[in-house]
Structure formats: structure tokens, C-alpha cells
Amino acid sequence: MTKLRIAVHSDLREHGEQAAVYRETLDLFGYAEELGFDTAWVRSYKFRRRSGAPGFSFPGGLPSPLVFLSALAARTARIRLGTAVVPLPLENVVRVAEDAAVLDALSHGRLELGVSNGGQPAVAAALGVDLGSDRDGKKARYLESLAALAEVLDGGLVNGTDQELNPPAPGLAGRIWESALTRQTGHDSALRGNGVLIGTTQTVPAEVTAAAYHAALPEGAPPRVGLVVHVHPAADRRTALSALEADVQTVYAWGKEWLPPATTLEEKAAAINVHYGRPEQIAESILAFPAFPYTTELQFSVAYGTTSYAQRRAAVEAVASEIAPALGWKPDDRHRVTDSRA
């Protein structure tokens, strides 16, 4: 059986000045490396509205994951660096390949390149990109982009020129992950040899997508299934729920049209798959989650219900010291290197 890996996952949408959020997240990820986490994943968001309440709904985030991860590469020695995700329809594929190749070169091959067929029409319009109104057409263009990305990363001549990618990116095409929302994309990603990144608040249950991925995976190919789990460790479930209330209400309201029906706060927390309470309660809750058996990398997010860097640091510490070990994860002793820089 594949060894379970753990990651820290952040959307960088916490309350506060953006530059401070970026710096604190870098600190948090540096600490995660010390604790033995295998990977750090960052989400990407474009633009902000003029106003918006701070908190989960704060309309900011990180638009340039590869630039951000380069700063993390400079501060760490071992932890793997993941984009979750680069929305290919909003990007030029050659520029993505270039940025990814440079980061991979600077980080000694630590990049994990997550991509998606994402992008909202209004955002695309601002970028001068026409997504079209036809879903099939958008999907077809995404698949073309994805194929071109892998080919350019593998050193093929760049379309329309007599030139190749520089710097070379050996092996990076084998470290592409796709954001997968449906049974079909889980299945297709497996056939393409890519990993899949699965969220827990989706229209299709995570285990359906994950099972389709495994079923389609060619014999002998190592599976790569990343699953985002939101956790909130506390002294007990009641205390946790009280801290989580505002974020749970906001997230549930955002997704209530397609989330499982829920009325009470407990039901809503269950509907958005937040795992909370004492560390052993969180471990039990994750073990009982239907997608867990399919998961090769648990991507822990500690954003819900936390309002300070100190709280997030404590939550990440609880993941590494109690929650993940109860799920069968062991830190690799060879990885217990806090800084191998010259």
C-alpha cells in the first residue's frame, strides 16, 4: 500500500493585510517543514472586489503561486512545493511552463504542478481571455493546453517555433496534478498519468471521483490522490464548533444549493467536511470519511475557525504530532532536516 503523505494547504485568504498574510504563511510552511510535512500547497485567486468583509469571505488571495513558492523554496530545503492550482484557461501555457521550470530549477526539483480547467467569465474578461459559452469547447481547449504543457515540459519543440523550453525541466511533466471535480475527470486524469487534487465540498462526493481515478489507473502506476481536509483541533467539539461557527455558516451558505441539506451547525459542519474537536476525534472523523481510503496525500487546511498565526501554528503542530500519526503517517527520519542550506 502506498505510504500516506501529509501536506499543509492554504488559500491565503485570511483576514489582514495581504503582504502580512503572505509572510505569515511562509512562516507557517517553514514550520510545517520542521514538523516533517511532505508538501505545502497554495491555492490561487485572481483579483479582489473593492470591499468585502474580512474572514473566510475576504476577497483576496494569491494570484501568483509560482512566485510565492519560489520565496518558500529559498526558505526551505526539503518540503515539496505545490500549486493548487494554476487555472490553465486564464494562462499562457508556455509562460506557465517557463515559471514552473525556473522554480523547479531553483528548488532542486521540488515542484508539484497542479492545474485546472478553471476560470470565471468576469475574471477571464479582465485578462482579455474569451472562455466561450460552450462547455465542451472549453474542455477541449483545456485538454489541448494540458497536452501542450506536458510536451513543452518534456523538451519538445514549442509549437510554431524551432525552439525548446529553457531551463529544461526533467521529470516535471510526471509531476502534473489536475483538479478533479467529477467521476469523468478522475477517470481521465488517471489515464493521462496525472495526479488528482480533490476538495471536500463538491457537487460529486470526493470518494466517487477518487474511486474513478483508482479504477482507471494503469497497472503498476503509482496513484497520486490529494484530498483537502479542513481541521480545527480544540479542547472539545463544543469549543471547536463555537470557534468554527462564522466560517461554517459562510461556507455552507455559499454552497447550499448543491451541498447535502443541513439545518443545525453540526449538520452544516458535517456537510462541508470540517473535522473538529480533540485530535483523536479529528483522526476518527477523517478515518470515517469515505474518500480517505483512496487518498495518498492528506492536505490539511487549518484556516476555518482560526484568527491568528499562533492558532494556525498550533493546529499544524497538532496535525503532525497527534492527528496524522493516528492515521498511519510517520515522519521520515531522513526528512527531519530543518535546514540543509550551505
Partner: protein, 359 residues
């Protein structure tokens, strides 16, 4: 020494084009080490050039692939973000992002993230260019007006305006979306790399800084004078004065005497002269060719004299020191930077080394 034509303090930056053969990852990491060291030497900033793609090695009879081709750096923001984490004071510049090959808003996003990660140390150099066949289609999906210089200039100016507006927090779509993260002050740190008298003037008239190379079809002092005239036009139309920002690429090769320098740098001088023979001042001897490519070489005193005698020097507010092309090792490059900050730059009026370092 030549008197300067402005009152701005002279600042000092390292400048690298990073276009070298060999293992690219190793080259990048060695360069990063050099630039960390540059901060320790008191250097104020760093500029890195952008190159896209490269020609593959050509197979020969004796090997399945030819010599490792040169390269370059396609992603200056990714590279500079690494340095943002490892330095405290060094200003981090792109010299320059080829704007016609980029989405102006993606450039704005990357620049804003770099600025946030570095505590406001980004210097955003951009350039018109990318006219080689096929490139515009590849990177922007269209090549409208690629053949027509006026159309290209108009498209470049539109991109530049879009970039500056985004950095200033303008609404980007009907829904009122703004650039995130906010980038206060960054639009005041735009520089343009220019090649001609006209573009030098236009850059000044937009109130931007200017980045000038010394091996160009138009003499650097011509572009520099045009830039200062443009700045006056900016002040007249905007009703406010912008201090000049004029960076000059300065290629150096220190040695114990000029003969030794020429002997050691011969291959690099010949190569660079051949590259620019069509537009460089004509030269026959090696010393003439070194002068033609604007290489400053020899002892610290000789390098100082050579730079001070340049017609462009009175206009420069920043020397962008390049230690590439001729160097056998990174140790030798570090030694050259140390000589420059310790002896050459102070003799030219630079006082930055006396400033206490935060790091």
C-alpha cells in the same frame, strides 16, 4: 571627474543576463549566491534580464547532442522572489519584461506578489520587443500589427497603460475587480528599457525610469539626453517633477593591468564584437574591440577613469554592473564586485557602501 547633470545620488546595482551554457539550474543557483553576496557588499539593487526559450543543441557526428546551448532566464519574478526571501535590502528589478509577449495583468499580479513578499523592493522594468516571427502568436495568441512599428508602439503603450492602471488599483472589469494584492507605489517604480532616442524621450515623458545598454545602435548618451528632455515634458504636462532614474549597463573586467585583462577576456571580447559588428563602432585591434563593446577593464583606477570618461556618465543615476561573458568562475565574479564596490564606485561618487546593512 566629469560633472553630473542632475542632483540624484549615484546608486549601484548588479546586472545579469544569465545567458550562459551549462547546467541551467546550477547557473541560476550560483548567480543567486553571488547576488546574496552582493547585498553584503552594500550593492543597492539587482537587475535580471528575461529570455524566452532557446534553440536545441544540434546533434553532431561524434555525439548524439551538441554542446549544451546557452540559455537565459524566462521568469524574472520567480527568480527574484527567491532573493526576496534571502535578502533584506537589495532592490529587485526586471530588466526587462518583454511586454508584448505577456498579459499586462499577469505581469501586474506577479510584480505585486513580488513587491508584497519583498517589503516593497520590486523595480519593474519593461520593454517593447518580441518581434521575432511566431513569438507574439505563441505568447499572446495574436500578432496584430507585428510588421508595423507604429502599430507595435501603440500596442505597447496600451499594455503599459493597462499595467500601470492595474498597479494603481483601477477597476479591471465591469464587476469592479481590482488587482490583488494591492501594490501601493509600484507604478512609480516602472522603468523602460529603451534603444532609441525616441523611446528614451517617450519614457521620460511618461515619468518612468529608463534602462540603457551600452552596446546599441544609438549611442547611450543620445538616449540619455532624450530621456532628460522627456522628463521636462512630463513635468510641464503633469505639473509635478519626477526625479530622473537612469540605469546604465556597465560591463567590467578587472585585472592587474590592461594587457592581462585583454588577454584573459579575449574570447569574450571577440564573441561580443562579432555579435554586434553590424552596428558597433568599427574596430580592428583587440583594444579597439573592447572599447567598441564598452568594456571597462584593468585596475580599479583604470576602470574608474574609463567609466568617468563615458559621454553617458553625467546622466546616469545608477550603474548596473555586469560581471559576465569573461569570467572563469563565480569566485572571480564576486572578487570583481568587491573591487567595484570597494574602490571603483566610491571614486565615481557612490556612497552606498557606507550605509549600514540591515542584514
Amino acid at each position: 571627474m566629469t560633472s553630473r547633470v542632475h542632483d540624484e545620488p549615484l546608486t549601484l546595482a548588479a546586472y545579469a543576463i544569465l545567458n550562459e551554457p551549462g547546467d541551467q539550474a546550477r547557473n541560476y543557483r550560483a548567480a543567486l549566491g553571488l547576488f546574496e553576496h552582493a547585498e553584503q557588499l552594500g550593492i543597492d539593487g539587482l537587475w535580471v534580464r528575461q529570455f524566452h526559450l532557446r534553440r536545441p543543441a544540434v546533434a553532431t557526428a561524434s555525439s548524439s547532442s551538441g554542446p549544451e546551448p546557452g540559455g537565459g532566464l524566462p521568469s524574472p519574478f520567480v527568480f527574484l522572489a527567491w532573493l526576496a526571501a534571502r535578502t533584506r535590502r537589495l532592490r529587485l528589478g526586471t530588466a526587462a519584461v518583454t511586454l508584448p509577449l505577456e498579459s499586462p495583468l499577469r505581469v501586474a499580479e506577479d510584480a505585486a506578489v513580488l513587491d508584497a513578499l519583498s517589503g516593497g523592493r520590486a523595480e519593474l522594468g519593461v520593454a517593447n520587443g518580441g518581434a521575432a516571427p511566431g513569438l507574439a502568436e505563441l505568447f499572446r495568441g495574436s500578432a496584430a500589427g507585428a510588421e508595423d512599428p507604429d502599430a507595435r508602439r501603440a500596442a505597447y503603450q496600451a499594455d503599459l497603460a493597462r499595467l500601470a492602471d492595474a498597479l494603481d488599483g483601477a477597476a479591471l472589469n465591469d464587476a469592479g475587480a481590482r488587482l490583488n494584492p494591492p501594490s501601493p507605489g509600484l507604478s512609480g517604480r516602472i522603468w523602460e528599457a529603451t534603444l532609441t532616442e525616441r523611446s528614451g524621450y517617450d519614457t521620460g515623458a511618461r515619468g518612468h525610469g529608463v534602462l540603457i545598454g551600452t552596446t546599441q545602435t544609438v549611442a547611450a548618451d543620445v538616449t540619455a539626453r532624450a530621456y532628460f528632455r522627456g522628463l521636462e515634458a512630463y513635468a510641464a504636462s503633469a505639473g509635478r517633477h519626477r526625479p530622473p532614474r537612469l540605469g546604465l549597463a556597465t560591463l567590467i573586467y578587472p585585472a592587474r593591468d590592461r594587457e592581462t585583462a585583454l588577454r584573459e577576456a579575449r574570447a569574450g571580447i571577440e564573441e561580443k564584437y562579432e555579435w554586434g559588428r553590424a552596428f558597433l563602432p568599427p574596430a580592428t585591434t583587440l583594444a579597439e574591440k573592447a572599447a567598441s563593446i564598452c568594456l571597462h577593464y584593468g585596475t580599479a583606477e583604470q576602470i574608474t577613469e574609463s567609466i568617468a570618461a563615458q559621454p553617458w556618465f553625467p546622466y546616469a543615476t545608477q550603474l548596473m554592473v555586469q560581471t559576465e561573458l569573461f569570467y572563469a568562475s563565480y569566485t572571480q565574479r564576486a572578487d570583481a564586485l568587491e573591487l567595484f564596490t570597494g574602490e571603483v564606485a566610491p571614486a565615481l561618487g557612490w556612497t552606498g557602501a557606507a550605509r549600514p546593512s540591515n542584514s
